[in-house]
Amino acid sequence: MTQTTTTPDGRQIGGVLMNLRNITLRFGGVTAIKDISFDIREGEIRAIIGPNGAGKSSMLNVISGFYVPQEGEIWFKGHRRGPMKPYEVARLGIARTFQNIALFDGMSVLDNIMTGRLNMMKAPIWSQALWWGRAEREEVENREQVEKIIDFLEIQNIRKTPVGRLPYGLKKRVELARALAAEPQILLLDEPMAGMNVEEKEDMCRFILDVNDEFGTTIALIEHDMGVVMDLSDRVVVMDYGRKIGDGTPDEVRSNPEVISAYLGVEHA
């Protein structure tokens, strides 16, 4: 279970970080996820793909703890996880970005990213209000971390710009920055490339790879763009109508007949 492997490009992939066992999720009479099991190993980039309505986003919401499945178990870092509040999820080291951007439009990029570090700020409210003692110290420390992320994602020029004025591609990058600010162990990306042009996609790919490489962050992502998924990920889970129909390296998945007929078949026709 704790074997370590090395990828062709020299990254270390550790043991199982999260294990999902026989997950079933129902909304009333609709079964969104049917008895799915897979694991996410430490340091890997794990993609979940599938046609529209396959249950990918539901799966991500299960991982993030937003949905609680009716059946099945989720093991995270060797502990079985029960239902959780959002802040508990964040404290566990899970951060995410959203398919439809969820930033504070009126706030600057910097302030938006700072919200990602709220969990690290422990100063009492009076201290924060007076901007004195512990609050000031904490703010400076956290700002330093945030600046490193700003530098990392190359968004220095929009540091003080209100998010509402930014183009779509940059908003996505700010979302990634906010998620990174929480220093997550596992980062969930819900369609990080959706609606982007080729150049923005290439940038985002590079950032995702760099995050994984530099911080060793485990990444689970959902994506439509097959080229992107196959290039980026170490292992891929393929879903169709709530079922898992494939699981393995991009090459294995590509040659899986069931996957081809369900998903890739459309493109290869």
């Binding site: 700002r143 600046e147 490193k148 220095q156 020029n157 490489d213 530099e214």
Partner: protein, 658 residues
């Protein structure tokens, strides 16, 4: 005499100047760089220590005297340090354009035989690795930014900080060797080698000696009274001679502070935060700023717009006179003072020009309106004329004698003469030593007495002794009927319109002149937005009928003004088209310093030029484009060709150049 002075003082190299500065200005800031949102700074003493550590590190890696060290990256203190550290070791720094693609880099790296390459980041390292066997001399790569570099094969690669650490550790062992190498640096040894951008043919390596750089630095610092208190923003390509003179030559001579922005895209914010006292920018930067000011004023409230217009009118009338110290009436002074309070002060602050004492522009002609706009605000913007082979300075404008149509008087120590055909020749202490490994080109450019041909045609104004440049000497030609053809003269007039980014005029040996126009996406895009004109791409906007109509107005206005000049009235544009793509250095259509390459454009767009002359109304074309990462693509377009009205030559009054 002056040479003897400097030689006596032992200030015969940049490292010697560094030692003097560390002693004399030890606690004054030498470098600042914005990183992680904060301006980090290094005093001269600290910078000297950093540079020494790096030089020792280079020695550990085996850098020899006479080696070439290529430096590829954006303006960062570490890269300036690398240049000076290389000099300390007796090696020659060769800064390269960081936006050059691997092919261009291969030629230069191979030509200078660089053994060491200092790269700014992973992107540059990748390019050098891609060059690989095409530049077999490269042995070591040193990189500044560690990001993404962990996986690389480090057998011949080090991070700059690690090289410094090793250098510090080896200080005892190699200190004497380094001292000896610094002491061996002579006044006529090579200081730096810079590659010309090359409007024609392969780039040439211009060798500049310590004498060239230090004499130029001293003369020009005296000319503008530069002191150690100046602040400059280093944002222009490090491979460009101007940056080397401003950020190294003058900075080390006068001991002032070099500020490096966070990145190219934050330059405007950083400019505002630093508020430089001494500033250089090519005309397009000033144009861009003026365009953005005007666009923002269009969106301002009616009251603010009226206030802005009123006081800008006052400034136009009074500002330049005040700046030149000419007499101005009391009431006008009062009006101007009020204007400073309400408009000019805040505006200058927004632009980052609150503290500016001396500003220069050069490289291309600057529009008189643009030039006057900045001068009327009280910004001492001047023009200079120069080239790499002269260590920049050939002529410059003294305070109080500034006009938009001249390039000033010869810089201190520079001799000028005008040849029969109008070409300008110069001889100066800054005149380059040679083109590296290219004696033929050296001989054809610099004669035995040291006179260098500039390649530009110009003349001296009788009354003032100022030099005026008409055009590139080789571009000045004749039309089919023998009338004079000076394309740049017309192009510059066209480019003064904010809507027009670039223009290329054809007509040598033809019976009429025609032009390609590039629209300015910022200005035209904003106009389109305000007029509810939807467009999906540059190409679509460029082909829009209303855009064509606007450009046609501009072309006709230019024709009318060209017609005023009997000598050049043949250069009126009869037909033009708006290009479907922006001219781009990546496609070889411009140099890295954004000068139009006529021959390449004429060759590449031969079909369009043919259409301009055979009377067709539209032309279909396909154009190959190169993306930033070097891949190629293709654009197809059908372009409309428009006729423009021309005007009869006015012969009554003589407004001509000569």
């Amino acid at each position: 005499m002056q040479n003897a002075e400097a030689a006596q003082a032992g200030l015969q190299s940049i490292p010697a100047l560094l030692a003097r500065n560390a002693e004399r200005f030890g606690n004054r800031p030498a470098y600042r760089e914005k990183e992680f949102g904060i301006w980090q700074s290094w005093t001269w003493a600290e910078a000297a220590e950093e540079i020494r550590a790096l030089a020792l590190g280079f020695l550990v890696l085996g850098l020899n005297q006479g080696d070439h060290v290529a430096i590829i990256g954006r303006n960062r203190p570490a890269h300036y340090w690398a240049m000076v550290a290389a000099q300390m070791c007796g090696a020659v720094p060769v800064p390269l354009y960081q936006d050059a693609v691997a092919d261009e880099m291969a030629y230069v790296l191979d030509h200078c035989g660089a053994r060491f390459v200092v790269c700014g980041d992973q992107e540059q390292v990748d390019k050098v690795l891609e060059v690989g066997e095409r530049a077999p001399s490269v042995e070591h790569i040193v990189y500044t930014d560690k990001r993404g570099m962990r996986k690389y094969d480090h057998s011949h690669m080090n991070a700059l900080a690690d090289v410094q650490a090793e250098g510090r550790a080896a200080a005892q062992r190699l200190g004497h060797e380094l001292e000896a190498r610094i002491a061996a640096l002579g006044y006529d040894d090579t200081c730096v080698m810079l590659y010309t951008s090359g409007t024609t043919g392969k780039p040439k390596g211009v060798v500049l000696s310590n004498r060239n750089i230090i004499e130029t630095g001293r003369n020009t610092a005296a000319f503008d009274h530069l002191t150690e208190a100046e602040e400059v923003l280093a944002y222009l390509p490090m491979a460009w001679v101007g940056d080397f003179i401003f950020s190294v030559g003058q900075a080390y001579w006068a001991g002032f502070t070099v500020n490096c922005p966070e990145g190219a895209h934050t330059m405007m914010t950083d400019l505002r935060e630093i508020g430089p006292t001494y500033f250089f920018a090519p005309p397009r930067v000033f144009e861009g700023q003026l365009t953005s000011v005007m666009i923002r004023m269009e969106d301002a409230s009616r009251f603010k717009r009226r206030m802005f217009r009123h006081f800008m009118e006052v400034a136009r009338r009074v500002g330049p006179a005040l700046l030149d110290g000419k007499p101005v009436g009391g009431l006008d002074r009062l009006r101007y003072a009020l204007g400073t309070l309400l408009v000019y002060g805040p505006l200058k602050n927004t632009l980052g020009y609150s503290r500016i004492r001396v500003g220069y522009t050069a490289g291309e002609a600057i529009g008189p309106e643009i030039f006057d706009f900045y001068r009327s605000l009280g910004i001492n913007l001047k023009q200079l004329y120069g080239q790499t082979e002269a260590s920049v300075f050939i002529t410059q404008q003294p305070d109080g004698q500034v006009r938009s149509d001249t390039v000033g008087v010869p810089s201190p120590g520079v001799e000028l003469k005008i040849a029969e055909n109008g070409e300008v020749f110069y001889r100066s202490p800054g005149t380059f030593v040679e083109y590296y490994n290219n004696p033929d080109s050296t001989a054809s450019t610099k004669d035995a007495e040291g006179w260098v041909a500039t390649g530009d045609a110009g003349f001296f104004e009788e009354a003032t002794g100022h030099l005026r440049i008409i055009d590139r000497a080789k571009d000045v030609g004749r039309m089919a009927d023998g009338r004079m053809f000076a394309p740049k003269y017309v192009e510059n007039k066209l480019k003064f319109y904010p809507n027009i980014l670039e223009a290329v005029v054809f007509g040598a040996g033809r019976d009429m002149c025609t032009a390609f126009i590039n629209i300015d996406l910022t200005a035209v895009g904003n106009w389109a937005e305000r007029n509810n004109i939807a467009y999906a791409s540059y190409q679509e906007l460029a082909g829009h009928p209303q855009v064509y109509a606007t450009i046609k107005e501009h072309v006709e206005a230019v024709n009318e003004s060209v017609a005023q000049d009997p000598m050049l009235s043949g250069c009126q544009i009869r037909r033009f088209l708006v290009l479907h793509k922006e001219l781009d250095p990546d496609d070889g259509e411009m140099t890295r310093t954004r000068k139009v390459r006529r021959n390449i454009i004429a060759e590449k767009y031969a079909d369009l030029i043919a259409a301009l002359y055979d009377g067709r109304d539209t032309v279909s074309t396909r154009t190959e484009v190169t993306y930033e990462d070097g891949r190629k693509g293709e654009i197809r377009a059908t372009l409309k060709i428009e006729d423009a009205r021309t005007f009869p030559t006015r012969t009554m009054q003589k407004v001509a150049a000569e």
